[in-house]
Amino acid sequence: MRVSAIILGIWVIMALGGNLGSLEPNRVVLEAIFTPPSATHWLGADELGRPVFDRLLAGARVSLLVAVVSVTLSATIGIAVGLIAGYFGGLTDRLISRLIEVFLAFPGMLLAIAMAAMIGPGLDNVIIALSAMGWVGYARLVRVQVLALRQRDHVLAATALGRTAPAIMRQHLLPLVMAPVWVEASFGLAGAVVAEAGLSFLGLGIQPPDASWGSMIRDGVRYLLVAPHLVLAPGGALFLVVLAANLFGDALRDRLDVTSHSRP
């Protein structure tokens, strides 16, 4: 858990610390084209002579922003939907369960790709597409637990005392379902980072000249033979962040002793 926390910490510092320095991710220096990594150019320069290190930091900011916002949005929507389905049951639950099933019928990033194709690229749209895909996991997780919890004595007591449904959901059910939600969210963070980079790699995410790890890989692949560092640097950063988030999720799951439904 410590290693993964350190890597995630570095990611956050890279993303937020970029404000402090004088970053120039979009400065074109023609003499510097394809400069390999060196003491003056930490990670070298790309096909336009832009500093790869600065672009890596700018990409860290994009990935952190997209991941945190889309996971927060997904979790908020998913928890609310799951609470409503599980608490009210009956027809409400059947309709919501159907909706969840329909969203789960789109494997992997397919729904995000389809949505990004329609609403167009850009930072905001990536967040919308990822949240539209992401809420389902939380909704399913919360619904199943609430179904099991709603006949518990403390919930029945609260109902008998005349507490309203929103108050019961917030005060008596929500706190009990949060442990697996945190685990799901840390795997969700890994998923969102990969999905943002994937959409940008496909040209459906962050648009040039703005940097994203995904679009850096996409541009770098064309020069794989001349300047492999253009692909190795952003891909390595991406891999480490995803690995750390997955490790963190595994450790959290063991510590909170919850069985995750999304991962064996």
Binding site: A105, F106, L110, A114, G198, V231, L238, N246, L247, D250
Partner: protein
């Protein structure tokens, strides 16, 4: 265990929901799709023709009913750019994607099942740790980075395989590994945990007590039982291979439905986008259901319950 008829209705309801969602995606296009496709300076006649071919001159409800009528007869609409039926375009590209998915699936099975067995039999020792590390790395490495890395190593440094395309022999290997690795990782974990879960069961102790060797216990008693959840997971993955193929095909310029989808998105060829998305989602739902049925058919406990 629900009846077959119930499961069939269930599947049809989900497919109905999926196609409705895919149909409604059109509503998300900001502004006027005709402007988006043709540009603001297009001729009035062209705009009217495009409007009619997209069905935008009719109310949404009517288009929705038409969409289902067409879908029922296998008509996925006509490409705006290529002027060909979308179903034909998909059928032209599907064999390449299926070839890639089949190769990736083979890799998943060949890596994950032996590795999962090895890990479970040597729990806590180095083969187990190796398998766990492999699984964690496989889950964490994005396929659009893995692809270029494999090209760099095997095509550029070693010169063993072609860089891209599907014409040269051996060109299937790297895309198949790229597509299959993360699924091999998930399946390895599943195989391992499934074997460990049944390890404490009484029938294994009985088998050992009557003097069966470890290999015989594994083949005759552990594996057949441990495979059931693995088959469900494999079925789920068979369908998601088609979705994963989108990125892999772009990485390797593989001419399947994934690159068809991405080309269509770039050209704003909305009917093709809808058609491919629908095709992948349908395939995913159907393979899932078939895998569930297959696992149920294999499971002796289910037969007894019926």
């Amino acid at each position: 265990m629900r009846t077959l008829a119930e499961q069939l209705t269930d599947t049809l309801v989900v497919l109905f929901g999926v196609s409705t969602l895919v149909f409604l995606l059109l509503v998300l296009i900001p502004g006027d799709p005709v402007d988006v496709v043709l540009g603001e300076s297009a001729q009035a006649a062209d705009r009217a023709a495009m409007r009619a071919s997209l069905g935008l001159d009719r109310p949404l409800g009517e288009r929705w009913l038409d969409f289902y009528a067409d879908l029922a007869s296998g008509d996925l609409g006509t490409s705006l750019i290529r002027r060909q039926p979308v179903a034909d375009l998909i059928m032209q590209r599907l064999p390449a994607t299926l070839q890639l998915a089949a190769a990736a699936f083979l890799i998943v099975v060949l890596i994950a099942i032996p590795l999962g067995i090895l890990a479970a039999r040597h729990r806590g020792r180095w083969p187990d740790r190796l398998a766990q590390t492999f699984a964690l790395f496989g889950l964490s490495i994005p396929n659009f980075w893995l692809g270029p890395l494999l090209v760099l190593l095997f095509s550029v440094q070693l010169g063993w395989t072609p860089v891209s395309g599907n014409l040269a022999p051996g060109s299937l290997i790297l895309p198949a590994i790229t597509l299959g690795l993360s699924m091999a990782a998930i399946t390895t974990r599943m195989m391992r945990s499934s074997l460990l879960e049944i390890e404490s069961q009484a029938f294994l102790r009985t088998a050992r007590c009557k003097g069966l060797g470890e290999v015989a216990v594994l083949l005759r008693h552990s594996l057949p039982n441990a495979m059931l959840p693995v088959i469900t997971v494999l079925g789920m993955q068979l369908g998601s291979l088609l979705a994963g193929a989108v990125i892999t095909e772009v990485v390797f310029a593989w001419p399947g439905i994934g690159s068809l989808l991405i080309d269509a998105i770039r050209q704003r060829d909305y009917p093709v986008v809808q058609g491919v998305v629908l095709c992948i989602a349908f395939a995913y739902v159907l393979t899932n259901r078939l895998a569930d049925l297959f696992a149920a058919w294999l499971d002796p406990r289910v037969h007894e319950a019926n």
